[in-house]
C-alpha cells in the first residue's frame, strides 16, 4: 500500500494495560503520562484487564504499541495468553513492552514471547519514550 503523503498527522498510538488482579496502577499511569508528554496518544484501560480485553482493545484502537504493567508476579502466566489473544485476532504488527516487578531470570522467556523491552522500577521514563520512538513499527 502506498505511503500516505501527509503522514505528519499520524500519531503513535499506545495501549497501556494492566492485566491480572493487582490494583496498584501508579507505574502504569506514570508511563502513560510520560508517553503523553512525549507526544503519543495513549489509551489507558484501567486495572484488572483480562487477556481477551487487552487484545480486543489493541485491535479496536489500532494501536502501534502495547505496554503491559504487572506487579503480581503472574506475568509468565498472563503474558503468553495475551500474546495468544493478539495472534488470534491477527494483531501481529504491534511493538510489545512490559514493566513492573519482573525478575531478571524471566527476561529471556519474555523476549522469546516478543517483548522487546522490560522496564523495571528505577527506569528513567525518558528511556521508555525513546524506546517507543526508536522501535515502533511503521
Amino acid at each position: 500500500m502506498a505511503a500516505a503523503p501527509s503522514s505528519s498527522n499520524e500519531k503513535i498510538r499506545v495501549l497501556i494495560a494492566k492485566p491480572g488482579l493487582d490494583g496498584h496502577d501508579r507505574g502504569a499511569k506514570v508511563v502513560a503520562r510520560a508517553l503523553r508528554d512525549g507526544g503519543c496518544e495513549v489509551i489507558y484501560t484501567g486495572i484488572r484487564q483480562t487477556p481477551e480485553m487487552i487484545a480486543e482493545a489493541a485491535l479496536q484502537e489500532d494501536v502501534d504499541v502495547v505496554g503491559l504493567s504487572i506487579l503480581s508476579g503472574a506475568h509468565l502466566e498472563l503474558f503468553p495468553r495475551i500474546v495468544d489473544e493478539l495472534k488470534k485476532r491477527d494483531v501481529d504488527d504491534v511493538l510489545l513492552f512490559c514493566g513492573g516487578i519482573i525478575p531478571e531470570e524471566d527476561t529471556a522467556a519474555l523476549n522469546d514471547l516478543g517483548f522487546a523491552a522490560i522496564f523495571r522500577p528505577g527506569t528513567n521514563t525518558g528511556d521508555i519514550v525513546q524506546f517507543v520512538y526508536d522501535n515502533v513499527k511503521r
Binding site: S6, E10, E41, V42, Y44, T45, D90
Partner: protein, 312 residues
C-alpha cells in the same frame, strides 16, 4: 486499498480499525476510503453525548450502549478526549468506563484525540463517524471532549444530541446563557442521587417553558449512570427524538444542515491549505511583515492572499 475495503465490507473489525486510522490521518488514502464508503453511511442513527468534564458522559455512553444492546441493536462508539496543546500527546481514558462492553461482538469502541480542534470534537470526526456508520452499526454514539458553554460542534455531526448536566454546577442563569443548552435534543440530569438534582431538573423545565410555543421541548431525564439507572428511559428518549425527526421531516433537514456545515468547513480547510502551499515563504511572509509593521490591516492582507488563488 481495495483489499482493505473488501475486508471492511466483510465485517472484519480489524479492517474497520485500520480504516479509521487512515481516515484520522487525513491522508489522501483516508479520503479515498471515505469516498468509497460514504454512500453506505445513511442507515445508522448518530447520537452525540456532550457535557462538562466529569459529568458522566463516558459512563452514560456505556450505559446507553448496554441498553441498546439489550434491545438487539449494534453500537459503534467514538469517544473523544483532548490532546495536549503543547506536546500534541493525549491520554484517552474513556474505555475505563465502558468495561462491560469490552468483549461484546456487537460493540466497537474507538478512542480519538481532539488533535487541537475547537468545539469539543476532532478534525476528522465527521469522516470517522461516516466510516463507523458505513460498517453497519445501528447506532453510532459520539462522546465529546468535556464541553462547557459553547462547544456546539456536536450538533453539526449527530442527529440527536444528549446534553449531560449535574446538580450543583450553577444556578438557572447559567442555564439561561446562550450556547450549549440550545443544541440539546435530550437533557439528562446525571448523578441524580446528589443533592440538588430535583432543583436542577425543575430549573431546566422552567427554562424550557420560555421556549417559543410550538417548538419541541427536549425531555428532561434523571439518571445515575454509574448504577445503570435511567438507561431504559434514555434509550427511549433517543428513539423518540429519532421518530420525531422522521415524522416532522426534520431528519432530512438536519442531514442537510449538517451536510452544509461539513461542506463549508471542509472547503475552508482545503482553501486554507491551498493558500498556504502557494504563498508560504513568499507572499505570505511579506504580508505578515506588512501587518506587523502596521502598513496593512489583516482584512486587506487576507483579500490580497486570496487573490493569489485567482478565484475571480
Amino acid at each position: 486499498m481495495s483489499e482493505l475495503i473488501d475486508r471492511f465490507l466483510n465485517g472484519e473489525r480489524r479492517a474497520l480499525a485500520r480504516v479509521i486510522t487512515r481516515v484520522e490521518a487525513e491522508s489522501e488514502e483516508g479520503r479515498e476510503l471515505v469516498r468509497a464508503l460514504y454512500s453506505r453511511t445513511e442507515a445508522a442513527h448518530t447520537v452525540g453525548i456532550t457535557g462538562s468534564a466529569g459529568s458522566g458522559k463516558s459512563t452514560l455512553t456505556g450505559g446507553l450502549a448496554k441498553e441498546l444492546r439489550a434491545r438487539g441493536k449494534t453500537v459503534g462508539i467514538i469517544a473523544v478526549d483532548p490532546s495536549s496543546p503543547f506536546t500534541k500527546g493525549a491520554i484517552l481514558g474513556d474505555r475505563i468506563r465502558m468495561q462491560d462492553l469490552a468483549l461484546d461482538p456487537g460493540v466497537y469502541v474507538r478512542s480519538m484525540a481532539g488533535r487541537g480542534a475547537l468545539g469539543g470534537l476532532a478534525p476528522a470526526i465527521n469522516d470517522v463517524v461516516a466510516v463507523v456508520a458505513a460498517f453497519g452499526f445501528d447506532y453510532v454514539l459520539i462522546e465529546t471532549v468535556g464541553a462547557g458553554q459553547d462547544e456546539v460542534e456536536i450538533a453539526g455531526t449527530a442527529l440527536t444530541t444528549v446534553l449531560v448536566n449535574n446538580p450543583g454546577t450553577g444556578d438557572d442563569i447559567q442555564a439561561m446563557k446562550a450556547g450549549i443548552l440550545e443544541i440539546a435534543d435530550v437533557l439528562v440530569v446525571n448523578k441524580a442521587d446528589l443533592p440538588g438534582a430535583d432543583t436542577l431538573a425543575s430549573q431546566l423545565r422552567a427554562l424550557l417553558s420560555l421556549s417559543p410555543a410550538g417548538e419541541r421541548r427536549p425531555p428532561i431525564l434523571k439518571t445515575i449512570a454509574a448504577k445503570d439507572e435511567g438507561m431504559v428511559e434514555l434509550a427511549d428518549a433517543v428513539d423518540e427524538h429519532r421518530q420525531f425527526l422522521r415524522e416532522s421531516g426534520g431528519e432530512r433537514k438536519r442531514r442537510e444542515t449538517n451536510a452544509r456545515h461539513q461542506l463549508l468547513a471542509t472547503a475552508q480547510a482545503i482553501l486554507l491549505e491551498k493558500i498556504r502551499q502557494r504563498t508560504e515563504g513568499g507572499n505570505l511572509e511579506s504580508l505578515v511583515a506588512r501587518i506587523a509593521d502596521r502598513e496593512l490591516d489583516p482584512h486587506t492582507a487576507a483579500e490580497e492572499l486570496i487573490a493569489t488563488l485567482n478565484l475571480g
